[in-house]
Amino acid sequence: MASTDLVHAHAAPQGFIRKYIFSLDHKVIGLQYYFLALIAVFTGMFLSLLMRIHLIWPTAQLPLVGEIKPETYLGLLTMHGTIMVFFVLTTAPQSGFGNYFLPIQIGAPDMAFPVLNMLSFWTTFVAFVVLISAFFVGGGAPLHGWTGYAPLSALPNAGPGQQLGADLWITSIAIFCVASLMGALNFITTTLDLRAKGMTLMRMPLTVWAWFITAILGLLAFGVLLSAGILLLLDRNLGTSFYVPLVVVNGQVMGHRGGSPLLWQHLFWFFGHPEVYIAILPGMGVASQLISTFSRKPIFGYRAMVYALMAIGFMGFMVWGHHMFMSGMSPYSAFAFSLMTMAIGVPSAIKTFNWLGTIWGGKVRLYSPMLFAIGFVSLFVSGGLSGPFLAQPVLDIPLHDTYFVVGHFHLIMGVAAIFGIFAATYYWFPKMFGRKMNETLAKVHFFVTLLGTYAIFMPMHYLGMAGQTRRYSQFTEVAYQTKLIPLQTFMTYAAFVTIAVQLVFLFNLFWSMKKGEKASDNPWEATTLEWTTATPPPHDNFGGRTPVVNHGPYEYSVPGAARDYTMQTDPATAPVD
């Protein structure tokens, strides 16, 4: 438990291990999370590349895996989804940037419980290692997809990957739950208890609001996923029947009786839908922060943005059933879930219009962080607009097992959140490493990635409407599906280009750490507290100073002010330069 057993004299450490490995400094921990997510995202991307190659050249011999068999394909699919959702989309925007910048943005010297913070990173790391090890055990990676539907996930003899691989998968998820809960505990306590003088709730940057609300979502959701995982492990290893009904596998009657596969779906999606918002809310926070900063205008409707975040978080817990329209649920339940899901469009639209309203009439500076923030809004809208389609049971039932859904969630949850991560990387890189990233490479990265991801994921909507099934490893055997292969080929080529340009990003990231243009303490002329301190920030963030906050987070172009931005720590009267 978070307690004083974590009490620790927390002066700046000197040894390498305490400084960089088992560090208590939230900034180092934030970077550790970021680099873990970086390893994870390239792993996940490599798996998707193998899948895309296999879809158009089914007999190709591929590096590491040889010719992909259907079960190998499902293993790649499971691991791609799990790695991306948990170790990239949950890890980088929340644990990575949140850890680094939440304490600084509220004027705190560290997180509330630094030892717990360190533990939560290393627990996440262990979860990642356990997950990856599923590739190397007998039978290989599990086949049940990142959603792990029972009874497939609950029966060790249901397929090659369902033996030890599936146990490792569940164990990894359970460990990840514990790590996320520790992280959420720290984020919430820190935000409530460690704000600097003058940092009232309504003066917090929208990034802090997003991390705070995301932490609350995590706190409520991961406990439920943990409970689902415990039941699954009991079913698999101790013969209980929580999820498994009477079933016959390979002609053999299994010993289970009366379990409910739907129970898994309910518990999983009660976590799973808030998880979508855990992935995207930090991106919304970053987009708000950057669009205001680079438009040199206050964010349009600050309070509306805060209340919209709360509304999205709250309603996110009431819509999980829209993932289960196919399960034969009562039409009345389906109607309620459908209505609630479409209602989430309202706060989402409030946010979108407020972003556009902020850009409108602003003195827009199109630096790379701003481009990625605009890209985030673009993808959020494109991916979001297919949401109301899928929210209706009558449309969801024909579309559910097609590429339409794959296109929808990749745009809104996957790529939009990734654009949030890119925007945050380009924006905060100068504060984290004291140098700027190369702007030309960044712009190449932006335009190719934006067009590339649209080229990959937009055609999926068409494929879905044409009836192309998802999760199939090969389309060569069904006549109407073979006609769609040329479009799949186009998407694979688009993936080649998009992945290649990520190597440009990787080069820019590491090259700029050493050789990038030196950055001043406030290169973007932004207002929040991280830009008031040295670059990179000292161990206690403010070098012994005590920040006192006198202004809101987005006071740009204030009439009568000496310059077009007012720092949060500027004197309460009009600032003088």
């Binding site: 438990m1 978070a2 004299a9």
Partner: protein, 244 residues
């Protein structure tokens, strides 16, 4: 990363109220030169505990919903090929469990005594440190030790209850209802073991001459966690007994 040690007192602001200055940051509560602010640390630890028990509540909420839904579900019987209700109510060894409940409630009271005792100690510590002042030796009773013994007694009692159920033929995988009995009581026991570990730690800190104010924080939040465990057990017992 440059290394700077905080030496200035800093003021934190919470919910618009101004709070006394504290030193340093995070859960260390100490800076370069000043003495730690235990009040601040206690409040933060209590807040952390309140946040930390939320997922435990969510865990049991989701088990409860699974329990209630499973009760009402029909099962396909492979012999008759018809849907039947297979929920067999488990007769809990309720006399034994009632004794266990009593033991846990008493342990909660002894825990509260330990908490109040150390709170008083911590409050008097500054006075004691003044040379020449003597408050006399207070009678100290090993409340923490007694709580640990009662906690272990409860766990032993639970073990006996499981053994009795097993002797009657109700094993973990025997029927859906017995699975839930073991699941709910087992998960509670695991969380209680966490509380016992915290108690042993709290008792151990007394031996290594940690300041009484620091020990007080450990005892205080362990006590609240312990009370939560007692309430959670009463809930689990009531659920299993009343919603069979």
């Amino acid at each position: 990363m440059s290394s700077t040690v905080t030496s200035d007192p800093r003021t934190f602001h919470r919910g618009g109220r101004e709070l006394p200055p504290i030193q340093g940051g995070g859960d260390d509560g100490r800076g370069g030169g000043g003495s730690p602010d235990y009040g601040q640390r206690l409040r933060r630890a209590r807040l952390g505990l309140a946040v930390g028990i939320t997922p435990v509540i969510m865990l049991f909420v989701s088990f409860t919903s699974a329990y209630i839904i499973r009760q009402g579900l029909p099962t396909l019987d492979d012999e008759t090929n018809r849907y039947i209700h297979d929920w067999l109510p488990v007769n809990l060894p309720w006399v034994l469990l009632l004794v266990n409940t009593l033991v846990l409630v008493i342990s909660s009271i002894t825990m509260e005594c330990a908490r109040r005792h150390i709170t008083r100690e911590a409050a008097l510590a500054p006075v004691r440190s003044i040379p020449g002042i003597s408050l006399g030796e207070e009678k100290s009773f090993p409340w923490l030790g007694l709580t640990v013994v009662l906690g272990l007694g409860f766990l032993f009692g639970q073990f006996m209850a499981w053994k009795e159920l097993a002797d009657r033929g109700f094993l973990l995988a025997t029927s859906p209802s017995s699975s839930f009995v073991y699941l709910l009581t087992g998960m509670h026991a695991i969380h209680l073991v966490g509380g016992v570990v915290a108690l042993v730690y709290a008792a151990a800190t007394a031996l290594v001459r940690r300041p009484v104010e620091a020990r007080r924080i450990v005892v205080d939040i362990t006590a609240w966690y312990w009370h939560f465990m007692a309430l959670l057990w009463i809930y689990v017992f009531a659920l299993l007994e009343l919603a069979r």
